[in-house]
Symmetry: C2
DNA sequence: GATGTCGTACTCGGATATAATTTGTCCGAGTGCTTCGGG
DNA sequence: CCCGAAGCACTCGGACAAATTATATCCGAGTACGACATC
């Protein structure tokens, strides 16, 4: 039950991209966050495939948000990077062993799977209500100076 | 973001134990569920360490619930088997790189970590409100015959 | 016949290999800017 | 001076290793029951 570390990196990158005005190259994001450039590139590719960020090639290319920061939720990023398969996978134990239940009696998921699904649903609902814009707003409120302006300035240099 | 398969086995075993009247040996639980006996033993040991089940050695020994089925939540079992460390671990990226935040400005978790913590809290609250007794009740309601009685009968034989 | 003792078979517990997933890295394909030559 | 094309440097994208974690297994320590010899 461990989430990929790339999720954290991706979310930070998305916040940075929401503040940027021009495309940002992957190696810039890696330097800014002090993480392995090649591995971060892998995560960004996943974000690109999911349609969260758009990639521009060539000189002065890089990544930018494909949608408005208010239209991308944290859940979108998590699913893109970490995969959208549920954490708990029911292997239908009830249909195995000497007291196996008949398949026709198993139209609904078992009680355990239902409980897990409810829990994951609650988890997703929280993440689905937080957008990148919300995160950026919280980051701005957390510190004294204008952090986002500082990032924009650093990206330009 | 994948939960250990042992969690599912452990929960099924706990439901069985809540229906049993005498200690149940690990190999019986493994046979009943058709899972590798040695690996299931590992999970049961974790449950024992967590104080969820009590082990009795010697002939006619085995495992039984250490507490009442109404006093053990699904969250307890998940934490015992899968570990109680949170899925998302903040590596404090904000304190790294050229624009690192000063440690004295980082008294609170960052916005991303806060969001993830809220989501995991919601997840835990759902699992914390479901007890083994609730699961057993749902299982009984799901099927026609008295499944728990059938399990008791099979365990006795 | 009652009782103490020994043996045995069964139990759990932790230390130990194997497989899968995550993490980390590299090089090739593609594209836009720059520069150089010609008109 | 303006225009065109070629070169080039920079970008992303997918294919390829290493480390960590989950999975699976084995054997040893401990205990309750049962049998047996003795009193």
């Amino acid at each position: 039950m461990k989430m990929s570390a790339g999720v954290e990196w991706s979310l930070h990158c998305c916040v940075v991209l929401s503040a940027a005005t021009e495309p940002v190259a992957a190696h810039q994001l890696a330097t800014l966050h002090d993480v392995p450039p090649a591995y971060l590139a892998k995560q960004l590719q996943a974000l690109s495939r999911a349609g969260i960020v758009a990639a521009a090639q060539g000189q002065a290319g890089g990544y930018r948000l494909a949608r408005a920061a208010t239209d991308v939720t944290v859940l979108d990023v998590v699913r893109a990077v970490d995969g959208d398969s549920p954490a708990f996978v029911c292997t239908e134990i009830r249909q195995r062993g000497p007291l196996a239940a008949a398949p026709r009696d198993c139209t609904r998921p078992c009680a355990i799977a239902r409980t897990m699904a409810r829990a994951e649903q609650a988890w997703r609902e929280v993440l689905g209500t937080v957008t990148l814009a919300d995160l950026a707003g919280e980051v701005s409120a957390d510190y004294q100076g204008d952090v986002l302006a500082g990032i924009r300035n650093w990206l330009g240099a």
